[in-house]
Amino acid sequence: MGKHQLGEFEEVVMLTVAILHGDAYGFSIIAEIENRLNRSVSIGSVQTVLQRLEKKGYLESHLGEATAVRGGKRKRYFKVTNLGKSVLEETKDQRMSLWSAIPKVAWDE
């Protein structure tokens, strides 16, 4: 614990990458987040987080083939690594243990 701390937005991005499984690249991630969470996300913020997560080893990436849609620019596809997966699970476990520790009476007041 404590060694791998994910920020909220980092967690969102990683989960989205996992959801998009195999089709996760910059714009698709942004579109997915905007769709599911109904919040507006800038390319800058997502790309920065992607770079950071890749540097930490939670994500890995490869360049795909060029498509006509993007003016011939190639996409960089992201994938969650095993390390990333275990960090996500650890984060989830932490949350769950916190949730389960809340006494029932707390919500009644």
Partner: protein, 885 residues
């Protein structure tokens, strides 16, 4: 609405974005733009916002930029390659580094010598505003500039020109200092230097730091003395916090005058021409200077009496002109008509060519300093030439590397950078080694120069600035040409190993020119040192016209005839002492009493002569030849004189005997002497100058020196010790209040050539080093030729060439280069050395022998160097060199 994504935000984005991210993100931007457009949003505007929001750390490229990172990697690679190369080619690197290190070490030492000389007297606050007043006299031999002054000059200047400040200084150098202690006993020190007498104004003109005492009253009246810190220590043995106890202590001068310590100043820096350590009031000099006469005479000159002025706002040229008024108003008419006062800036004092002596020693002319600098430059250039020869010789070995690098896309300038980096690395190692060598050489060189020069490498940062400059210059000078040669190689032939041997061996290649240059330098140096040595041995062996062997001299405290007679008898009673004589000085001496002489045969300009007072045993003791008349005996009248042959010729007598009986007047004071004898000409001054006119007068005052001839029979150390003890005992009986101090006359005479001796010693060292570096370079050249001709030699050997034939191939070219060098070196060396020899009135002629020796020496060095390398090649198995095709 515009369907195309806007160009300039994208261009901006591409500019700032990290290159590894740019493609992916740009795609995102375009996709979003399309999406926004399809949703009828203001796509362009939104895109601009996105781009701005992308402008954040993590996306922006690093400030260093990728190109710089790339360079850094390359430089690292260059260093690695260089290190590997240095390690692999050990002989080559060793030769390169040691050659450069020797050159750098010498350059450092020479730099420090020059740096030291150039910093003389700069510590005075008014350095730029101080002048010495010199005399310029019109004489038969043209204008003569000299420094000796009359005592009242400064006072006259102060009263005539209130806006300037002037002071007289008299540097007596030697003196007997006594420190009386409480019980009445006196501790005595015979000081060999540092005894000075100055007017109080000296303290305002020159800068000194007072540790104790008040600068304003320190010398305001006679009877006060200022000591330097180290003299105060010597006399009173005080620690720094107890220095004040020395103030008001009495000290005696020549057992005659008692004065009181008024102040203590910091020691002067070694770079001063005013080594005043015990500074008395000017008027106290009557205790040591019998010609002081209260400082009133406008007739008495003494080279140790100088006048210094501080000009303030006055223009030096205007002031010099105004000085003619002083000439007319104060000087006696016979002096005034030929005299002009000249101002010499303090900045020129240490470098003067016309007035070669200062209080501290000889001046170093700008010419001499330039020669020292040139030797340094020569050494560095020779070392660089070496480096160039060795590097280009190694070029063939690097060819493959260059070929591969070029094939991989290395540009010419990248290769040049690589080899320059390598040169810089080698130079850096050499510099460290050179600094070490110079540090080792420091002490021996100071000893050779008898501490006249000071080589303290680590006294200031100048050494390191100079070293930095040296590394840079050498890197460029030595590294540039080899780098360009290497970088220019054709990659295809380099990799294929078919590099043309003809490529760089035109009729007049740069390398040959360099070798000729190097040979020229070493031959000039060899010829120079041979001539210098010959002149030195000429100095030592020239017949001076008298015998200076086995003579001990003592400086006499007074002229009391009873003392002298008893001393003489005591000494002669001893069997190891054969002769004793008293006189003003030996036949050749630095101290001279020179005045004009008058005789009916002399008309027109003044003729000068030296006067020495001697007793009857003088000529016998120094073994001088009487060619006419007779010498003195004890009853000879005081006005009898013996002159030298030259004086009789000046008086117009072809036969010296005719001059006997003539009367001449010495000086303007009316001292008349009658010639009773004539001695053969002898050298009264060092061999730098021509013969003087000399008068020996039998006269019982002006007796300063006792000369004692020791029996030549058994000159063992013990005998000499014993004799010296006898002399000391006899001395102490007569002069119990003086310190016994003796000198050997031949050693004293040797000191006249001390400067030449030091220069010769130091030049010898540098010549050896220069020749050594040259030999290294030659070795490199032969190595280069051997590399290029491996195949040729292989074929020749197969065809039946002998080792001798092959050795010939190498030597022939070098012999041609050596001959060209000799043709340049011989006249150059002749011209330079001949003009140097012309400084001496007595000099050797430059014969052909020195040139023969020089050529033979460099030939021998060349052939041995070539022989070693070419024999190795000649004996190699031809199969090895031929089979790689």
């Amino acid at each position: 609405m515009n369907n195309q994504p806007p160009k300039w935000p994208l261009r901006f984005f591409r500019w700032f974005c990290d290159p590894t991210l740019v493609e992916d993100i740009e795609g995102d931007l375009l996709e979003r733009f399309e999406q926004n457009k399809s949703q009828n949003k203001r796509a362009t505007w939104l895109m601009i916002i996105e781009v701005i929001r992308l402008f954040r750390p993590g996306i922006i490229r690093s400030m260093e930029g990728y190109q710089h990172l790339n360079n850094y990697g390359m430089i690292k690679n260059y260093l690695t390659t260089s290190f590997r190369f240095i390690k692999r080619e050990k002989t080559y690197s060793l030769m390169n580094i040691s050659g450069l290190a020797l050159g750098i070490a010498c350059a450092l030492i020479l730099f420090k010598i020059i740096d030291h000389q150039l910093s003389f007297d700069k510590h005075h606050d008014h350095y730029a505003n101080l002048y010495r007043v010199n005399n310029e006299d019109v004489t038969t031999e043209g204008k003569r500039l000299w420094r000796g002054q009359t005592h009242p000059l400064a006072r006259a200047l102060r009263s005539e020109f209130p806006q300037i400040n002037a002071a007289m200084t008299f540097y007596n150098k030697e003196g007997l200092i006594g420190i009386p202690n409480k019980n009445g006993a006196v501790k005595r020190y015979q000081e060999q230097s540092g005894i000075a007498f100055v007017e109080p104004e000296f303290l305002d003109i020159f800068t000194m730091h007072f540790l104790e005492g008040d600068p304003h009253s320190a010398l305001d009246q006679p009877g006060k003395v200022i000591l330097t810190h180290s003299k105060a220590n010597k006399y009173f043995d005080l620690t720094k916090d107890r220095l004040h106890e020395a103030i008001s202590q009495p000290i005696t001068l020549e057992n005659e005058r008692t004065v009181y310590v008024s102040a203590i100043i910091e020691d002067w820096p070694v770079t001063t021409d005013f080594p005043f350590e015990v500074i008395f009031h000017y008027d106290d000099q009557d205790a040591v200077n019998p010609w002081y006469y209260g400082g009133k005479s406008w007739e008495e000159y003494n080279s140790a009496t100088n006048c210094y002025v501080k000009l303030g706002q006055t223009d030096p040229q205007d002031f010099e002109e105004q000085l003619s008024m002083v000439v007319d108003k104060y000087l006696p008419e016979h002096t005034a008509q030929k005299r002009t006062y000249r101002l010499q800036p303090l900045a020129d004092l240490h470098y003067s060519e016309q007035i070669r002596r200062t209080y501290a020693g000889l001046t170093k002319t700008k010419n001499e300093l330039t020669i020292i600098g040139l030797i340094g430059v020569f050494l560095i250039v020779t070392a660089c030439i070496n480096f160039i020869n060795l590097s280009t010789a190694q070029a063939v070995k690097r060819a493959k590397e260059v070929g591969v690098r070029k094939t991989m896309g290395s540009s010419k300038w990248q290769l040049v950078t690589q080899f320059l980096t390598e040169t810089a690395l080698i130079t850096f190692f050499a510099a460290i080694l050179g600094l070490g060598l110079a540090w080792i050489g420091e002490a021996p060189i100071e000893t050779i120069f008898q501490h006249e020069v000071n080589v303290d490498l680590f006294s200031d940062l100048n050494t390191f600035y100079f070293l930095g400059l040296l590394i840079f210059t050498i890197t460029i000078l030595a590294g540039f040409y080899p780098s360009v040669v290497l970088a220019r190689m054709n990659p295809v032939s380099a990799v294929k190993h078919t590099l043309s041997t003809r490529q760089s061996s035109g009729l007049f290649s740069l390398r040959r020119a360099l070798v000729v240059f190097q040979f020229t330098i070493s031959q000039v140096l060899i010829i120079g040192i041979l001539i210098l040595n010959a002149q030195m041995s000429y100095f030592q062996n020239k017949d001076l016209g008298f015998n200076d062997d086995s003579i001990i001299t003592l400086t006499l405290p007074n002229n009391d005839s009873t003392n002298l007679q008893v001393l003489k008898n005591e000494l002669l009673a001893h069997s190891s002492i054969s002769k004793v004589s008293f006189g003003t000085a030996g036949p050749m001496s630095s101290w001279k009493s020179t005045n004009p002489i008058f005789h009916e045969n002399i008309d027109g300009d003044d003729v000068f002569a030296n006067l020495k007072n001697v007793d009857g045993d003088y000529f016998d003791l120094y073994e001088m030849d009487l060619i006419a008349g007779e010498g003195f005996n004890n009853s000879s009248p005081r006005n009898h004189a013996v002159v030298n042959r030259k004086l009789t010729e000046v008086l117009g007598f072809t036969d010296p005997a005719d001059a006997v009986g003539e009367t001449i007047q010495y000086g303007r004071g009316g001292l008349k002497v009658q010639i009773v004898g004539v001695v053969e000409d002898f050298h009264a001054s060092s061999l730098h100058s021509a013969l003087d006119n000399v008068i020996f007068a039998h006269y019982s005052w002006n007796i300063f020196q006792a000369a004692i001839k020791v029996n030549n029979g058994d000159r063992t150390y013990e005998n000499l010790q014993h004799t010296l003890r006898v002399i000391e005992n006899a001395w102490m009986e007569q002069y119990p209040e003086h310190v016994f101090d003796f000198r050997f006359y031949d050693e004293e005479l040797g000191k006249f050539y001390q400067l030449e001796e030091s220069v010769a010693k130091i030049t010898r060292i540098f010549v050896v080093i220069a020749v050594l570096i040259g030999a290294l370079g030659l070795y490199g050249l032969v190595a280069f030729m051997a590399n290029q001709k491996t195949k040729e030699i292989g074929i020749r050997k197969v065809m039946g060439a002998t080792t001798w034939n092959i050795w010939n191939i190498f030597s022939r070219e070098l012999l041609i280069l050596l001959s060209i060098a000799f043709v340049i070196a011989a006249p150059l060396a002749y011209y330079v050395m001949n003009s140097w020899l012309n400084y001496y009135a007595y000099r050797i002629a430059i014969g052909p022998l020195v040139f023969v020796i020089a050529v033979a020496t460099s030939l021998l060095i060349a052939l041995v160097t070539v022989g070693y390398r070419s024999l190795a090649v000649a004996q190699a198995n031809p199969i090895l060199s031929l089979r790689d095709e």
